[in-house]
């Protein structure tokens, strides 16, 4: 059967049988790099298109419908336009940092990709502290944003960057705590183990109330961490025009723009992995026939489906809610989410110790 797992195995075996292992490993690195950059480009383009379509239908409009069928090439055309635009560097900007910032944001987004399992046995780097790695890396993107805000020499950018700093640092806490509750239940930090532990049912069903609470907290926290509405304080176009990327244009702007969507994809992939079993098909207890049918759907489809479902949820938030104010944003975190998630971690530990899950 042609699956992602087989394709990688075939390539691996072919390379090792024709070249010496060092060259084969190097070639594999290059291939993975090329594959992930391609994936990024495709993801960015398709998610932007998806967001525009979702927004349009919710706003009783049609959305892009001119370039290609249903407008699917609209984002490609936009990217080409951005590529050809002049990238201006404002006077008085710190040129080095200004040019570096979008790449930092992009590289951070790429780094998080490593431990994510896209399909059965299809993972770039199966590291035993996968979840820790994810939490550690995902908070790095704030450095790029602060860099962009500072280097632009614009007050709008500076305010946006400072907001973003405060926001990401605080929401990191509850995102981490809600991820911890799954770690407590699984007893492992490895992404692979977490997925395998959901063989007989996803955690959101198996661990009922605590998992549901931590999922809700997780989705709120990652919405804030990716600077999406209703937490888009860093951009807040009606207040700060465009926040930290006000002064960016051309391809540098496009990199910020793409990084935003890739970040969404990654946090949703993490959410799908932790709470919805990653590539694990939907299994219900002892229904053998049902489980068997579900196994026929390829694991990559399961993973993508769950991730896109969560992405849709985050888009749904964006096109429904007004934006919070900066102090309300921090209130929500420190007065509501953090106490609840700490309490929830206790509850989860209790559930895990007593074995009150299925």
């Amino acid at each position: 059967m042609l699956s992602l797992e087989n394709i990688t195995r075939i390539i691996h075996e072919w390379l090792n049988s024709h070249f010496n292992p060092a060259i084969a490993l190097d070639t594999e690195f290059v291939l993975v790099g090329v594959a992930s950059i391609t994936l990024f480009a495709l993801l960015g383009l398709s998610l932007v298109w998806m967001e525009r379509k979702v927004a349009a239908v919710m706003q009783i409009r049609l959305g892009p419908n001119r370039v290609g069928p249903k407008g699917i090439f609209q984002t490609t055309a936009d990217t080409l336009k951005l590529l050809m635009k002049e990238g201006l560097v404002p006077d008085g900007a710190d040129k080095f940092l200004f040019n570096l910032a979008p790449f930092i944001v992009m590289i951070v987004a790429m780094l998080i990709l490593a431990p994510i399992a896209f399909a059965k046995n299809f993972q770039i780097w199966d590291i035993n502290i996968g979840v820790l790695y994810l939490s550690a890396i995902s908070s790095l993107s704030v450095i790029g944003i602060l860099m962009a805000g500072w280097a632009s020499n614009s007050k709008y950018s500076l305010l946006g960057a400072m907001r973003s700093g405060a926001q990401i640092v605080s929401y990191e806490l509850s995102a981490g705590l809600s991820v911890l509750s799954i770690v407590v239940l699984t007893g492992s930090l490895s992404i692979k183990d977490i997925i395998l532990s959901q063989q007989n049912g996803w955690w959101i069903f198996k661990a009922h109330i605590p998992a549901l609470i931590s999922f809700i907290i997780f989705i709120i926290a990652v919405t804030a961490e990716t600077n999406r509405a209703p937490f888009d304080m860093a951009e807040a176009e009606s207040e700060l025009t465009a926040g930290f990327h006000t002064e960016y244009s051309g391809m540098r702007f496009a990199l910020f723009f793409l990084a935003e969507y890739i970040n969404i994809f990654i946090v949703c992939a993490i959410g799908a992995t932790l709470f919805f079993g990653g590539w694990m098909p939907l299994h219900i207890g002892s229904w053998q026939a049902f489980n068997h049918i579900m196994d026929y759907i390829p694991s990559s489809i399961w993973f993508l489906g769950k991730t896109i479902g969560l992405i849709f949820l985050i888009m749904w938030f964006r096109w429904t809610f007004p934006r919070l104010r900066i102090d309300q944003l921090l209130n929500l975190e420190w007065k509501y989410l953090l106490p609840i998630s700490m309490f929830n971690l206790l509850l989860t530990s209790l559930v895990a110790i007593m074995g009150w899950y299925f």
Partner: protein, 371 residues
């Protein structure tokens, strides 16, 4: 100049909100002094869209100058035209026929609804919710379609003339308006579900930009802004013109004076406008739609003043006539100007986000402020 005032001696930031900024809905320029995110000072700079409408009107005849006033507060252009027509009629001492008065009032109220609808969408957009904007336009579109059918234009109608209205209502007018009222009533629930009831929205609006009753009076705030602070200032009730003394409607007043109160006043005003339209729609008397006037209008020597209630507040038209065919001097008292002047008082010590919320709740139309 700008570089010099970039930073004050205390190290506060000075930021220009506008003249090109998504939140100002036009070319308003606010110079705000910030301490971190906290606002210390707001200084509106005006004049970016000053077209000297008052001076232009001095060279136009009494028939011609009315169309220019549509360009002041373009969202309530009917009401601006109505004010000018009333003022000229006062000078000529003519009274438009009953039918014309009914049509004028219905058109005024439709304009008011359309203006408040647009404001509702723009307000939500200021707070970062985009969807309500499109939903508001769906209902507003029905009104602009009615305007297009009767008046021939969608925004700058120029339908009111001294002595009545320019043309007869279009044949299906009553049916169209009834259809709009039906549509609006079926969608009204949506407004509260999407925006009013939303916890984020309420937190952003409640006790933000508070304006006390005394301050509202001393700043000269009128319209929904004044009424939200508890000032009873509805010109339609206080100095009724045309047939406003014959219709039943409530003057909406709130006491809180915050952005949320201003929001609620406008939403309730839409309901009252619909109530007025429903009372008048079936009872438009037969007759002429325009009084007989001379081809060339000449106002007698003297001064004439007429005030009306636009969607934003009190609009005053002051004409000085030397007895010729053109006014000697015209002055408009626009509601937006005095409402804007209260902004600094409202937002001092609050955050940038509150400035945007408070500014949205003032419902500013910049060409109305600058003229």
């Amino acid at each position: 100049m700008i570089e010099e005032i970039g930073r004050t001696t205390e190290g506060d930031l000075i930021i220009n909100i506008g003249p090109q900024h998504p939140a100002t809905h036009g070319v308003l320029h606010l110079v705000i002094t910030l301490n971190g995110e906290t606002i210390k000072k707001v200084e509106p700079h005006l004049g970016y869209i000053h077209r000297s409408i008052e001076k232009m009107c001095e060279s136009l005849s009494y028939r011609q100058f009315i169309y220019v006033t549509s360009r002041m507060d373009y969202l309530s252009s009917h009401i601006n035209n109505h004010a000018c027509a009333l003022c000229v009629e006062k000078g000529l001492q003519i009274e438009p026929p009953q039918r014309a008065q009914y049509i004028r009032v219905i058109m005024d109220e439709l304009t008011r609804i359309a203006s408040h609808e647009l404001w509702w969408g723009a307000m939500a957009m200021d707070l970062g919710a985009f969807t309500p904007f499109f939903h508001a336009f769906r209902e507003r579109e029905t009104i602009t379609d009615i305007m297009e059918k009767t008046c021939g234009a969608r925004l700058t109608m120029n339908y009111m003339v001294p002595g009545g209205v320019m043309a007869e209502l279009h044949p299906g007018f009553q049916r169209d308006v009834e259809r709009f009222i039906q549509l609006y009533k079926s969608k009204f629930e949506e407004y509260s579900e999407l925006v009013t009831g939303n916890v984020i929205f309420q937190n952003r609006m409640k006790s933000v930009g508070v304006l006390s009753k005394e301050d509202a009076i001393s700043y000269g705030c009128s319209g929904p802004v004044g009424r939200a602070s508890g000032v009873s200032c509805d010109i339609r009730k206080l100095y009724p013109y045309d047939i406003y003394n014959k219709v039943e409607f409530d003057e909406i007043t709130e006491t809180e004076g915050d952005s949320y109160a201003r929001y609620v006043v406008r939403l309730k005003e839409i309901q009252q406008s619909i109530r007025i339209i429903e009372q008048l729609l079936g009872n438009i008397p037969e007759g002429d739609f325009q009084a007989k006037t001379k081809a060339v209008l000449k106002l007698p020597k003297g001064e004439f003043y007429q005030r009306v209630e636009t969607a934003r507040g009190e609009l005053g038209v002051y004409i000085v006539s030397e007895g010729g065919t053109t006014p000697y001097r015209i002055k408009f008292r626009s509601p937006g100007f005095s409402n804007l002047s209260a902004l600094e008082h409202m937002v001092k010590g609050l955050k940038i986000g509150d400035l945007i919320a408070a500014m949205g709740s003032l419902d500013l139309v910049i060409p109305d402020i600058d003229r």
